[in-house]
């Protein structure tokens, strides 16, 4: 089977669109700060809140067991199940991590997954491929084929008929089960309450029809109190399934008459995660929004980009709760594009955490050598402005390229520098480099060009943190004398701005303030570099729109799959992501982007002349520059 999966692509895109609509219409983003604060405060004192919760649950008649390891959690459940033969089970990632179903099946018990998606993958002997939509990789045809083959049915590939079959099949299981196992999305200390969200009703039935109930959860699911949990829940369900409320939000405080309830709390690396430098990852509420929006996940799904836990966050969770080799393999699929971060309701800096994680992972030679090359020269060499070299490449050029002493030259602010970065020194970017030099010479006279250095971003995102730190320190020293440093590369800009703050500015945005509207001879589309999505300079298009009239393009914000070196590491995936950029463009067009890596990647499908850097575009077509 191809590693690419169109079912995943369609389903994730649909959820992304619905989620965006819900968040916009219901203003759910406004809940984030409060929810993150609550989560942080709860995790900071997890031990204390667990102690309170455990005491109160026990007083209420619920048995609480804290398990350090998977083996001890499974052992406890197995022992307390006693002679239970039939077990109905709700969806729970923690129990997937524990391989609980497999353990109990080996003991000769019948364990039935009751969530529809989980039931389907159980029949197929697969792992879930998504946090909240376990069978997202399958079509109705795949499900019908499996049911017909396995159960001797003749069902059509119709979601309604297939769901009806499972409903009938599982009714008797709920009624006859000896025990139920469910997960918990949240556990509140005051008053002690387990919260579980679901849509199908299977959680409620698995929890309440059998006489024994096991609620399995992670040490990181604790919250101080029920106050404010509705905000967290709305963010969770809104991010997961684009629903402000799921059909059922179940609460458990005491056993029902005649019922035995056990709460099993698993550590298995969670405490270590919370105490590590990756602790921000512990805020993850497993909503899966980062998977839905991830360009890599959209193409390959969770069986390639994950194991029990998927995507970039999956690499981190696997590192702490699973096997390191698996974590390293999962991390290798992450583009470090940061597309996922704005979608995360808990503000987890996923790409940065994966970068940090990668520090201990080996890099293949084809990646480590270019990084060495990029970092080998002193971080910054300084050059005074030179007149732009004669651009004698046979192309028609605007005046600005050959009239550097034009009276139109503007006065630059004092203490002003332009940092070219490493991308613009490659032969592939010769034209852009010349255009940028000309623009600087013309519009920012007196500015110093800080040349030839690498900002260290590629090193950082590949986990070469000490090399990245050295480069940053060298650059920091060199930037000190300047009030403002302009970068033509949007990715370097976003990275350095996070480190040095507002003095770092995007050349294209500053240039756009100085140039009048241009009239290019084709429709112009904007490609948004992923690293601008997370906040830094995300309004580049708005500022550029003063100069360039952009046409609408539904794929504007879609990742191009470049990821610096990703196209070398995973060429097929990179190409597949790139091809998603193609639809929606007319015959004659120009795509503008200020990330050199995106620019080179987009040229692979659109050709050299159709993809341009904004500085090149603005200078080439500006009246002052001579027009074309």
């Amino acid at each position: 089977m191809s590693k690419f999966n169109e079912n995943v692509f369609k389903a994730t895109n649909l959820t992304v669109r619905k989620r965006a609509k819900l968040f916009r219409e219901r203003g759910l983003d406004a809940l984030r700060d409060g929810a993150v604060t609550k989560r942080k405060a709860s995790l900071d004192e997890a031990a204390r809140f667990w102690e309170i919760a455990a005491k109160r649950f026990r007083e209420n008649g619920i048995e609480v067991f804290f398990a350090d390891t998977v083996a001890s959690a499974n052992g406890f459940i197995s022992e307390h199940l006693g002679g239970a033969r039939l077990i109905v089970k709700g969806k729970s990632l923690t129990t997937e991590e524990m391989e609980l179903r497999q353990v109990l099946e080996r003991e000769g018990r019948e364990v039935v997954e009751t969530d529809l998606g989980e039931w389907i993958i159980q029949q197929r002997n697969e792992l879930p491929s998504h946090f909240t939509a376990p069978a997202i990789h399958l079509s109705a045809g795949d499900v019908a084929e499996m049911i017909n083959r396995k159960f001797g049915e003749n069902l059509p590939a119709d979601a309604s008929a297939l769901t009806g079959f499972v409903r009938r099949k599982l009714r008797e299981k709920f009624r006859n089960a000896d025990a139920g196992i469910i997960g918990a999305n949240m556990v509140c200390a005051d008053p002690a309450t387990v919260v579980s969200v679901s849509n199908e009703g299977n959680v409620s039935l698995s929890a309440r029809l059998p006489e024994k109930l096991f609620i399995v959860t992670g040490w990181d699911r604790i919250y101080d109190s029920v106050d404010g949990i509705e905000g967290v829940q709305r963010l969770l369900t809104g991010s997961a399934t684009a629903q402000e409320f799921t059909s059922y939000i179940d609460f458990f405080r005491k056993p029902l008459p005649g019922q035995q309830v056990f709460l099993v709390v698993l550590d298995n690396g969670r405490k270590a995660l919370m105490e590590s430098s990756f602790s921000e990852g512990a805020r993850c509420i497993r909503c899966g929004a980062c998977l839905n929006i991830c360009p890599v996940y959209q193409e390959v799904g969770g069986h390639t980009f994950g194991k029990v836990y998927h995507g970039g966050i999956g690499a981190l969770l696997t590192e702490f709760t699973g096997r390191k080799q698996d974590a390293s393999a999962i991390a290798s699929y992450c583009l470090r594009c940061k597309s996922c971060e704005p979608a995360c309701p808990m503000g987890v800096p996923i790409a940065d955490l994966v970068a940090g994680l990668s520090e201990s992972y080996p890099l293949p030679l084809y990646l480590s050598l270019p990084l060495k090359w990029m970092g080998r020269r002193p971080a910054v060499q300084v050059g005074r402005q030179r007149e732009p070299a004669n651009v004698n490449d046979g192309q028609k050029r605007p005046k600005v390229f050959d009239s550097p002493s034009s009276s139109a030259r503007h006065h630059a602010s004092p203490s002003f520098a332009v940092f070219m970065g490493c991308a613009f020194r490659t032969p592939l970017m010769k034209r852009e480099r010349k255009a940028i030099e000309a623009a600087v010479f013309h519009y920012f006279p007196g500015a110093e060009i800080l040349d030839s250095g690498c900002c260290g971003m590629p090193h950082y995102f590949k986990g070469r943190l000490s090399a990245a730190k050295e480069l940053l320190e060298a650059i920091g020293r060199r930037f000190e004398p300047f009030d403002r440093v302009l970068l033509p590369c949007s990715s370097g800009f976003a990275y350095l701005r996070e480190n040095f703050g507002g003095k770092i500015q995007l050349l294209s945005m500053v240039l756009a303030e100085k140039i009048d509207k241009i009239n290019p001879d084709t429709a112009v589309f904007y490609h948004q570099p992923c690293h601008l999505k997370t906040g830094q300079g995300k309004d580049e298009k708005k500022v550029l729109s003063r100069v360039i009239s952009f046409s609408d393009w539904e794929n504007e914000a879609r990742c191009c799959g470049s990821g610096g070196t990703y196209f070398v590491q995973h060429p097929l995936i990179s190409k597949k992501i790139l091809f998603r950029k193609e639809p929606g463009l007319p015959e004659r067009f120009t795509v503008v982007t200020s990330c050199p890596s995106c620019l080179l990647q987009l040229r692979r499908i659109f050709g050299r002349e159709r993809v341009r850097h904004p500085a090149d575009m603005m200078v080439s077509f500006s009246e002052e520059g001579g027009g074309q």
């Binding site: 079912n7 369609k10 389903a11 649909l14 959820t15 009751t114 969530d115 529809l116 998606g117 389907i120 939509a133 376990p134 069978a135 399958l138 079509s139 109705a140 499900v143 979601a159 309604s160 297939l162 769901t163 499972v166 409903r167 599982l170 009714r171 709920f174 008053p191 309450t193 849509n199 199908e200 009703g201 299977n202 409620s204 039935l205 929890a207 309440r208 029809l209 029920v226 106050d227 404010g228 949990i229 509705e230 399934t241 402000e244 409320f245 799921t246 059909s247 059922y248 939000i249 179940d250 609460f251 458990f252 405080r253 005491k254 056993p255 029902l256 008459p257 005649g258 019922q259």
Partner: protein, 116 residues
């Protein structure tokens, strides 16, 4: 419509439930009292027995009687109960190709009745 909201007076409640039973003749219909509801959003139902749970989750159609307005379901959590559920819709899934299907394991119809 798999989820409906109605507003009626106390006097009309009996008749209303009869009508629902006629409308869904041949299917199991249960009627459950909530202790509070958030208008157009959902209702909180305390669950203190297995029978309660069966009424709420095993019928084909559930009618949720709503008398007390809440600002949010958190208000209901301040009360004392063994177990409970905030119900906002019928049982549903989108697990197969994201197609929304009602009545996976629980009711196919969820009818909220706000009693004035």
């Amino acid at each position: 419509m798999a989820t409906e909201w109605h507003s009626i007076s106390e006097d009309e409640l009996h008749l209303f439930i009869n009508k629902i039973q006629d409308r869904f003749a041949g299917q199991s219909v249960s009627c459950v009292e909530s202790t509070g509801f958030v208008p157009a959003t959902g209702a909180f139902v305390p669950i203190d027995s297995r029978e309660n749970a069966e009424a709420l989750f095993l019928s084909d159609v559930v009618v949720l009687v709503c008398r007390r307005r809440l600002k949010s379901y958190e208000e209901a959590l301040a009360g004392d109960f063994a177990q409970g559920c905030f119900v906002s819709a019928e049982s549903k899934t989108a697990d197969i190709e994201k197609k929304l299907i009602s009545g996976v394991h629980g009711p196919k119809e969820c009818i909220f009745v706000e009693v004035q």
